[in-house]
């Protein structure tokens, strides 16, 4: 594996201005994804997963503002690039799959035409060949009878098929980075498995880096090589998937694993995470936004967050990380 990062996000901070005050949605978020690698951004709703993706794609809500950091795609900083520079890159080098395929697709344009649009704009495909190429893309994402389906409108297709169309649109210009924002939420588990296989296979074939955003830790574990855990706009832990399940170091990661239904044999053994996300508008937000919910809080937590590294690539933003193995104890005693 070539270790040149496809995307390197460094110190990304984003604020939203609202009537209730300034929401510091992201604070000093850093992570990278290498060529051909699949990573997962995991966290509860409100943790800043999607905002991170939107900031990188340059599609933040007008109320949102990037207040610091860089997002390097090759030699280009996406955060300081001009609108026309981003428009060139978006679709060609980075593509995104959205959560709800039905609302993300254009409802009044046949799906084949929507794929052809991307091919013409970003894929250097001549106008007269685009429709034929679009049909081939539909075939590649496993839609049966693609010639007929290319003329269909989104409302004529099932959720799973719309998601395949979204994938075809995203991959039309053979991007080097794909951001998939909860691509299978709202789909059935059987369809979810097929769609995720498709994304994984195509990514492997094309050597594409994938950032996969999900709240489902089990799904993330199954589909990605590395997991980046977010909480209230902070990256709290970033480690290879196997490592994070076997030796979670951040208390939040460990509690998230213990709360996943798959981890327990009965309902009583499932552990909930006490407290809730802090209000990100507060002026007196502690340096560690988890500290108010944290069972391992110590005095040092009042200092700015550390970035402790374990082994080669296990980064934890915690002053009092769990010791190795100890985090596994609750799951083992449960089994």
């Amino acid at each position: 594996m070539i270790s040149a990062p496809a995307l390197a996000v460094e110190g990304l901070s984003v604020e939203f201005r609202t009537r209730g005050g300034i929401v510091r949605a992201l604070d000093n978020v850093s992570f990278g994804v290498e060529k051909g690698e699949t990573i997962a951004l995991v966290g509860e709703s409100g943790s800043g997963k999607s905002v991170t993706a939107y900031a990188v794609m340059g599609i933040l809500d007008p109320a949102g503002r990037v207040t610091g950091g860089r997002a390097m795609l090759g030699g280009l900083d996406l955060l300081s690039a001009t609108a026309s520079q981003i428009a060139e890159v978006r679709g060609r080098d980075i593509a995104m799959i959205f959560q709800n395929p039905r609302t993300a697709l254009n409802p009044i344009r046949p799906v084949g035409r929507q794929i052809a649009d991307v091919l013409i704009r970003h894929g250097n495909v001549p106008r007269n060949k685009a429709q034929g190429e679009a049909v081939e893309m539909l075939r590649a994402v496993g839609i049966t009878d693609p010639v007929r389906r290319a003329k269909a409108y989104p409302f004529e297709m099932s959720g799973g098929m719309c998601q395949r169309v979204m994938i075809a649109i995203a991959l039309a210009a053979k991007p080097s980075l794909l951001i998939a924002d909860e691509p299978t939420t709202g789909l059935d588990v059987t369809t979810q498995a097929v769609i995720m296989d498709l994304v994984n296979d195509l990514a492997r074939q094309m050597g594409m880096a994938t950032i996969f955003i999900t709240h489902d830790l089990a799904l993330a574990g199954q589909r990605s090589a590395r997991i980046v855990v977010m909480h209230a706009g902070h990256v709290v832990e970033n480690a290879p998937t196997k490592e994070i399940f076997e030796h979670p170091r951040h208390p939040y990661t460990s509690e998230l694993i213990a709360a996943t239904p798959d981890s327990a044999a009965s309902l009583d053994e499932l552990a909930s995470i006490p407290g809730s996300l802090p209000d990100l508008r507060r002026a007196d937000l502690p340096p560690c936004r988890y500290s108010e919910r944290c069972p391992r809080k110590i005095d040092a937590c009042a200092q700015p967050l550390p970035h402790t590294t374990f082994g080669a690539d296990h980064v934890v933003a915690c002053w009092n990380p769990l010791p190795e193995k100890a985090a596994l104890a609750p799951t083992e005693s449960a089994a």
Partner: protein, 344 residues
Amino acid sequence: MTVLLDVEQVSKYFPAGGGLGPLARFKRRLSGGPELLPKVYAVDDVSFVINKGETVGLVGESGCGKSSLVRTLTRLLDVTGGRIKLGDRELSLKPSRVFARDRDRARIQMVFQDAGESVNPRFTAFDAIADPLRRLRKLRGKLLKERVEAVATQCGLPLQLLSRFPHQLSGGQRARVGIARAIAVGPDLLVLDEPTAALDVSVQVVILQLLQQLKREFGMSYLFVSHDLSVVRLLCDRVLVMYLGKVVESGPAAEVFEHPLHPYTQALVAAVPRLHDDGVERLRLSGEPRSPIDPDPNVCRFYGRCPRGTDACKTTMPALRSFGAHEVACHFAEEFLPQVKAAS
């Protein structure tokens, strides 16, 4: 064990219209054309029982008829055929509009998927919980207030939140309101339609544990509809698997998930992401489900998507057959049976 709900051969068909307006249909009838419209077989000949104090899970993909079945059982829809008995009361005879004011209405209550969407946005939490009590228990004034506060406390909803509107509550609090208003009238059967689908895992745990605790306290029975199999496994005693309007498999939850006999259940179980993935090659379903509009009664509904499908599946619809407590509708269930015997 006493049977609480007995569902016998319930069917629910919806007219599919066939693209004809009322006038065109009338003309067709005048000209002696076929009078019957094509029908969507949303629920087709479904039978099962729910015992007192039991939690039954209902799983299946979207469009398989879970919601139609649930709406028929809760008498929000009228049945096309079959019988629904709650205790010794026959429910399927009364039209749903009349049943809304029936004295047994309170005995079956429902918790909807997203309380943010299903609670009247102009009702405070108090009003939302009080509404069924006013209508079905005719409570007023001080008695009403006491009852609402008692239920809210049972559901872990702080009393100071009762004056808030749904949008002022968090997802977990809204879920508690949804549960509180359903159990306020003291139902025997609570139908839960994906009550935790909109919640984060950390909150989901709390709500599931609350449901478990309420069940122990009040001895209610649950019909738990979900497509999250890992949640069903934790909460349910028994599970029913539906595919295109039919129950294809049912049995004790642990047994169905560990040794699924129907190829559809096998695919469903295989598709669930696991925290500790064993890396085994997983069974995948290809293609789309068959059309639910006037399906051929002699073809297995799963035919065409089924990895096991043979010509026999095209000519005979497999009936539900019992293997102990485990029931399955597949010609080839025996092939997977030795595993079950070895396990038990």
